[in-house]
């Protein structure tokens, strides 16, 4: 266990690239309270010192003054990300406005230079005056004294060069991956790397916050106390920087932790963490579980009974790998992953406006999957799409108008980088280091996007998408991008803040596409491998899969990085990525828990049952019953996953089970609902298909299948397994006792397709 260094009695500073001389200068420059106890003037650094105190004390977190408009008429930037603004709000006062840089109303300074102790900055957090945020600062604390000294010194901002030298570039937390037992404590040590290369112990200057105090709570000083087994992320905030450390809590270390066999780096990294957390992985899945799981995950299709029999009967060592290859090259794989990406890329009549446009767009997706087009190429084609081709049509909305540039940009970033920038549209992002300026810099890449063509004219009944300096809209919906606060024209700049080069002037979105998919940027590959991983495990390494942020850290950062690197090195090959995943031991673990992993949800120690998506479930019911669903005028036998514009086909079943409308990047609802339960009881999908024309029941009865054969056939069809001896005995006897075999068979099938075992991938 780490010993905590005493706070406010000098700082432990490690030697960085600078030598001892520089160290001495820095030490002299920032010193402890005692150095300036006599009141002599000293140089202040507002960003580090005042910003650091406000951060440490939680004044500028997003629940308090760091929220969008601040609190009680006092606004601070979250985490002291924008110290210039903070200085102005404190020294001059004013109420923040979203759409204007000018403060609202009269400005009331938060400091009193003549009587520093009477400053609101001090009287509020010490509760000398009412303060909604409660008691945050003690009058006898060093932080209080520092603030008084700073006000007394005239509340200077300080010199920029000093700030730059002392600016925190990076935070490191020790230990990096702590694992502690329930009721044990662990002191966290936070080290900052400064701009000059020095490192500095800033444990006493940062704010600690646990995202799950029921698992592990953390004190103001960084002392972690374990409460119950699990994992909790502790977010550490210093002025302008934040970091996260994941605390593992175990009940008892396992003696003699076994060595699990590994097939690839996925196994190595996942099992290493399980070992660290003393969680045992479940046993490998049996062939029944594996067969059903891999078929549904790769193709969205249940294996037919004859294939189940064949697979379960075989005992060749490589049969799982052979099956994986068969599935990856099957037409069903193409159907399913076209569906999956049509979901992500949002194909729909109500999205593209016209069924023909949706079809053309869908065909582009299907072609990409069929040809195994590198994913970075698909992304570039979509982000930078021009002309009349499939990807270009995804921009079009009904009514003839295009979405706003900010919506288009936000969607692409969410889809391809897994980040949600929406908050930064109106203000600096409250949780992440993304400013409003960066948001609009990115938006400017879309400011020139224009639609040419007019569906109502004879010579141009189509839409062409291109970038035109004049833009598209006449009411701020295109053309030169204008910052909503300061009303100045914004030039295209990447999320990193780096301005776009000269090429962007002519083809801005092509520049953006190159930047977003650059191999130098980990975000692009990480976003898609995380998304695909989430599909196979029911949970992303970062979850939700498109919400990468500091407060939502990866459970397995090494694994995420390794998957992304493998994906990059493999030429952004989606099939290869899936092959890696499904061939791993981790993917092939059983869903039956053991004592050590029963409560674990995040470490992939076993397979967790996942509900089938609405379309897959409906197709599975049709497949088992043998009665296809009829979608409007589509050919009989059309599967739900093969609908191009799914929104054209109303379906009570699909709505109940969470089909998204694709108006936004889909997030499927997976919670069970009362409506689903009622539909199970009385809905046409569950009841009407049992005895529909051409049903499997009808076919079996027609060929004189015995009760045993019938039970077996439906178990194989629905659950991809043989019935157990107990199930077989009970069910056969039950059917025997029914007056009508038809009715009994219908009840059997209804029960099977209504079971959780059927409705879940497990």
């Amino acid at each position: 266990m780490f010993r905590r260094y005493a706070p406010e009695k000098g700082r432990r500073v490690g030697l960085g690239r600078l030598g001892a001389l520089a160290l001495g200068i820095i030490l002299a420059g920032q010193g402890g309270d005692s150095v300036y106890a006599g009141g002599s003037a000293r140089p202040f650094s507002f960003p580090r010192e005042v910003g650091g105190i406000l951060t440490k004390r939680g004044c500028n977190n997003q629940e308090c003054h760091g929220s969008v408009k601040g609190r009680g008429g006092f606004k601070l930037s979250a985490n002291a990300l924008y110290p210039r603004d903070d200085h102005e709000w404190i020294v001059q006062g004013g109420v923040y406005q979203v759409l204007s840089p000018e403060p609202l109303g009269s400005r009331k300074p938060r400091i009193d230079l003549k009587q520093p102790e009477n400053s609101l900055l001090l009287t509020k957090p010490t509760m000398e005056e009412p303060h909604g945020g409660g008691d945050r600062l003690s009058r006898d604390s060093a932080h209080y004294r520092t603030l008084v000294e700073w006000i007394r010194a005239g509340a200077p901002y300080g010199r920029e060069e000093d700030h730059r030298a002392r600016e925190i570039q990076q935070l490191e937390v020790s230990p990096r991956q702590p694992v502690i037992r329930v009721d044990e404590e662990q002191q966290l040590l936070v080290t900052a790397t400064l701009a000059g290369g020095l490192t500095e112990d800033v444990t006493d200057q940062v704010n600690f916050e646990s995202n799950d105090p029921e698992v592990a709570e953390v004190s103001d000083s960084g002392l972690v106390r374990a409460r119950q087994p699990g994992e909790a992320a502790v977010v550490i905030r210093a002025a302008g920087r934040a970091a996260t450390v994941v605390i593992g809590v175990i009940r008892q270390p396992l003696a003699g932790y076994p060595q699990a066999s590994q097939r690839n780096f996925i196994d190595r990294l996942v099992f290493a963490k399980l070992r660290r957390l003393h969680i045992l992985p479940s046993e490998p899945s049996d062939d029944r579980q594996f067969l059903r799981r891999v078929c549904l995950d790769l193709t969205g299709t249940l294996p037919p009974p004859e294939r189940v029999r064949e697979f379960l009967a075989g005992d060749r060592p490589g049969k799982r790998d052979e099956l994986i290859e068969t599935l990856l090259n099957s037409p069903e794989f193409l159907d399913y992953w076209t569906f999956r990406f049509a979901d992500l890329f949002r194909v729909g009549k109500s999205v593209q406006g016209f069924t023909k446009y949706s079809r053309l767009y869908w065909e582009w997706i299907r072609d990409g999957i069929a040809r195994n087009k590198p994913y970075d190429q698909m992304a570039r084609e979509r982000i930078a799409a021009q002309g009349y081709g499939g990807p270009a049509l995804h921009y079009y909305l009904i009514g003839g108008d295009l979405p706003s540039p900010q919506d288009m940009m936000g969607e692409q970033v969410r889809v391809f980088l897994g980040r949600r920038l929406d908050c930064a549209q109106c203000h600096n992002h409250p949780y992440e280091p993304w400013s409003q300026n960066q948001f609009w810099g990115m938006t400017a890449f879309y400011g020139q996007l224009t639609r040419v063509g007019d569906i109502n004219t004879g010579t141009a009944p189509y839409n062409i998408i291109l970038d035109d300096p004049e833009g598209h809209g006449v009411l701020g919906k295109g053309g030169p991008t204008v910052h909503p606060r300061n009303k100045t024209e914004v030039r295209p700049a990447f999320l990193s803040g780096e301005p776009a080069g000269q090429n962007a002037a002519e083809d801005p979105r092509a520049s953006l596409a190159e930047w977003m998919t650059s191999p130098d940027r980990p975000e692009f590959a990480e976003a898609i491998v995380n998304r695909i991983w989430g599909r196979f495990f029911g949970r992303g390494i970062v979850d939700p899969v498109d919400d990468f942020k500091l407060a939502n850290p990866a459970t397995h950062p090494d694994l995420l990085a390794a998957l992304a690197e493998d994906f990059r090195a493999g030429g952004y090959d989606l099939r290869q990525l899936m092959r890696r995943i499904v061939r791993s031991r981790v993917y092939q673990l059983s869903s039956f828990p053991n004592a050590s992993n029963r409560s674990d949800r995040t470490n992939y120690a076993r397979a967790h049952p996942r509900p089938l998506d609405a379309e897959v479930l409906l197709d599975a019911i049709s497949q088992v019953t043998g009665v296809p669903e009829r979608f409007g005028t589509k050919p009989e036998g059309t599967r739900a996953i093969n609908l191009v514009s799914s929104d054209m086909y109303p379906s009570r079943f699909l709505e109940l089970y969470g089909r998204p409308n694709r108006q936004m990047v889909p997030q499927r609802k997976v919670e069970a609902s009362l409506g689903q339960a009622l539909h199970l009881l009385a809905g046409s999908t569950y009841t009407g298909k049992l005895s529909g024309k051409g049903s499997r029941i009808g076919r079996l009865l027609a060929v004189g299948a015995s009760n045993a054969e019938m039970v077996e056939e439906f178990y194989l069809a629905a659950l991809s397994r043989f019935p157990t001896a107990e199930e077989r005995g009970e069910l056969e006897g039950w059917i025997e006792g029914q007056a009508s075999r038809q009715r009994a068979a219908e009840d059997l099938v209804w029960a099977l397709i209504g079971s959780r075992e059927f409705a879940y991938v497990h």
Binding site: Y357, I464, K477, W750, A751
Partner: protein
């Protein structure tokens, strides 16, 4: 009994089974009736007529013919279906060549169209007319337009295809699955029909070697009311590969719906290179899956080198007059263009189809105005300049004169071709672009004219305010007018609008010429005219005046049946609301005027046994005199006696 948490002995309701079907039910009658009626207020010598409903819903209308084609030299029976065909007595081929005889007329059993019933509409009787067709062995291959004649008059036109090759009929056996596909031998032409919702007709064929084939579907596509019944076909190629899940499973090889626009339905065409011998399938269905007895089609499977349906139609079949097309990227802008334009001006003294004005001529303007004919060029001096990539790479800029034609290819993404030309102050120049091969929306030729400082003076992108007034509407225009303010040398830069695309098919021809005031397009929607004795019908004609043409345009109806007269009329137009800012409209659009012609059949006008061709002519008029008559349209016209109509109804 409990199975994985579900009690199967529990209550299981039979449940409601009302399937949700959100698709529109096909209802041709609604579309016909939905046309509405325009009021006609016309001044007549004998006093005003009563307002009368335009009568598309009361005219014979044919929706489909099946089969859709046959081989030259054959005789066959076809069924034509439609409305108000009671008493159909003749088949009328517009251009002759084919003969048809009506065998019988019967009511087609009702389909139970709940859509109409629910709406409380009076349901018309769908009639079937069996026709015996005789196709001479020397009949031209291609499309032949025909109409039916009944006592109510002449119907709209449908197309019947004459094939040079043998034509198969779709089997009567179900063939809507890959396993039941109808076997055909390549090359093949098959007449089929997508009757039911969700129907996809499968045809199987064997290839003994790798081969490149073209697949085409011909059919009547949806058009404008009242004849908008049509199939929007899609073509799909499959290989019966089977899969691990399903041994009957097919693998889709290619698909083509030619979805270039929602509003302009095209006939699909697919060229595919089969890499190995084997059995393959082609499926024909409807884009959205809807079926109808009227959805007849003809599928053609042929070597990719053989002529397409479109090529066959250009070379043979029905050679109906092609209306003048002023602004279309596919219109030819060859060296004869100037002569053609001059022939549409008042100054030209060529003789047209009819050089005289009749007494009842309607004018689109009130009085003769002097024709503005300035800047006319000498058509013999047009110079063709062909762009060459080698010259372009060498940095050479080609010179072109006015008039002149620049011809080139945007053969790669980002390719931009440059030319220079001289223009005089005040010179009025027209720029016309043609895309002879690939055109919009794939290739969108954008040109800009730059002055000597490299500033773009104008381009062929027409920008104006959209209807919702919230966005700019932009179109790439095939024709642009400009008057130069300064004498000097100018550059012409042309490329693809996006600069992202380019290939050998991105060919363009750009004509620079003096502006020639002339009559542009003259349009009327009237497709046929069934006149009831003692009653009147109207024809609305819209004329375009191009490039400053300020003369009059006289309109003439020639070939009137006995007892029929025509008069100028007026029409009340509904207020359309304020016009949004329409940019530099004169640069890209003509001046348009509409005129109404009222055609009156006298009470004693004798009935016509067969349609006569009423010829609509337009004739430019200026101070210099009348120009040649321009044939605008031939309108099949019949006079019907009221008693005959009453007898039928």
């Amino acid at each position: 009994m409990v199975l994985q948490g579900i009690d199967i002995t529990g209550i299981r309701s039979a449940g409601g089974s009302a399937a949700v079907n959100g698709m529109n039910v096909f209802s041709p009658w609604r579309r016909i009736a939905g046309l509405g009626a325009a009021l006609l207020v016309a001044a007549f010598p004998a006093g005003p007529l009563q307002a009368q409903e335009a009568a598309p819903a009361t005219e014979p209308t044919i929706l489909s013919v099946h089969p859709l084609g046959a081989r030259a030299g054959s005789t066959l029976e076809v069924e034509v279906q439609g409305y108000l065909l009671e008493g159909a007595r003749a088949v009328w081929f517009e251009q002759g060549g084919l003969q048809g005889r009506v065998r019988d007329v019967r009511a087609v059993p009702a389909e139970g169209n709940s859509d109409s019933e629910a709406a409380g509409e009076e349901k018309p009787v769908l009639m079937g007319v069996r026709v015996k067709l005789e196709i001479p062995s020397d009949a031209l291959a291609g499309v032949h337009r025909f109409r039916l004649v009944s006592k109510r008059g002449v119907s709209n036109a449908l197309m019947f295809r004459v094939n040079a090759d043998a034509v198969l009929d779709e089997t009567g056996q179900p063939h809507q699955t890959p396993s039941t596909a109808q076997q055909v031998a390549v090359p093949a032409v098959v007449n089929g029909r997508v009757v039911s919702d969700g129907e996809e007709d499968f045809y199987a064929f064997e290839l003994t070697e790798a081969r490149e084939l073209r697949f085409e579907v011909f059919c009547k596509t949806p058009g404008k009311p009242p004849d908008d019944v049509g199939l929007d076909p899609e073509l799909t190629l499959y290989e019966p590969t089977g899969s691990w899940f399903d041994k009957e499973r097919t693998t889709r090889l290619a698909y083509n719906d030619d979805p270039s626009s929602y509003h302009v339905s095209r006939l699909p065409q697919l060229t595919y290179r089969f890499r190995k011998k084997g059995r393959y399938l082609v499926g024909v269905g409807a884009f959205l899956g809807g079926g109808s007895p009227h959805f007849s089609y003809q599928l053609r499977i042929a070597d990719s080198s053989s002529p397409t349906f479109a090529q066959l139609d250009r070379n043979g079949g029905n050679r109906v007059p092609v209306p003048w097309n002023e602004r279309a990227f596919r219109r030819p802008v060859a060296s004869g263009r100037l002569a053609l334009l001059e022939s549409r001006s008042a100054v030209s003294n060529g003789t047209g189809a009819d050089g005289r004005l009749t007494n009842g001529a309607a004018s689109s303007r009130g009085q003769p105005v002097r024709s503005g004919a300035n800047g006319r060029g000498n058509r013999s001096s047009i110079v063709l300049v062909k762009e060459q990539e080698s010259s372009e790479r060498a940095g050479n800029t080609l010179s072109i004169s006015v008039p002149g034609i620049a011809e080139g290819t945007i053969d790669r993404p980002g390719d931009v071709d440059r030319y220079v030309f001289k223009a005089e102050r005040g010179q009025q120049v027209a720029f016309e672009v043609e895309t002879p091969q690939v055109g919009p929306p794939q290739f969108n030729p954008r040109f800009g004219i730059l002055d000597e400082e490299g500033r773009e003076l104008f381009s062929n992108v027409y920008k104006r305010l959209g209807r919702q007034l919230t966005f700019y509407l932009k179109t790439v225009e095939p024709k642009t007018l400009y008057t130069f303010e300064r004498s000097g040398e100018y550059s012409l830069v042309i490329g693809d609008l996006t600069r992202r695309f380019g290939n050998a098919g991105f060919r363009y021809r750009l004509l620079l010429r003096p502006q020639i005031p002339h009559v542009g397009e003259v349009r009327t929607d009237t497709d046929r005219l069934n006149l009831v004795a003692g009653q009147a019908r109207k024809i609305t004609v819209t004329t375009d005046q191009e490039e400053g043409y300020s003369g009059d345009i006289a309109l003439v109806l020639d070939g009137l049946p006995e007892g029929v007269e025509f008069y100028p009329g007026t029409e009340v137009k509904a207020y359309q609301g304020p016009v949004p800012e329409d940019g530099l409209r004169p640069r890209f659009s003509p001046t348009s005027e509409s005129v109404t012609i009222v055609v009156l059949a006298g009470a004693d006008a004798p009935a016509t046994p067969l349609p006569v061709k009423l010829r609509l002519l337009a004739r430019p008029i200026s101070d210099d005199g009348p120009g040649p008559g321009l044939l605008i349209k031939e309108i099949p016209t019949m006079v019907v006696r009221p008693s005959e109509r009453e007898k039928e109804s």
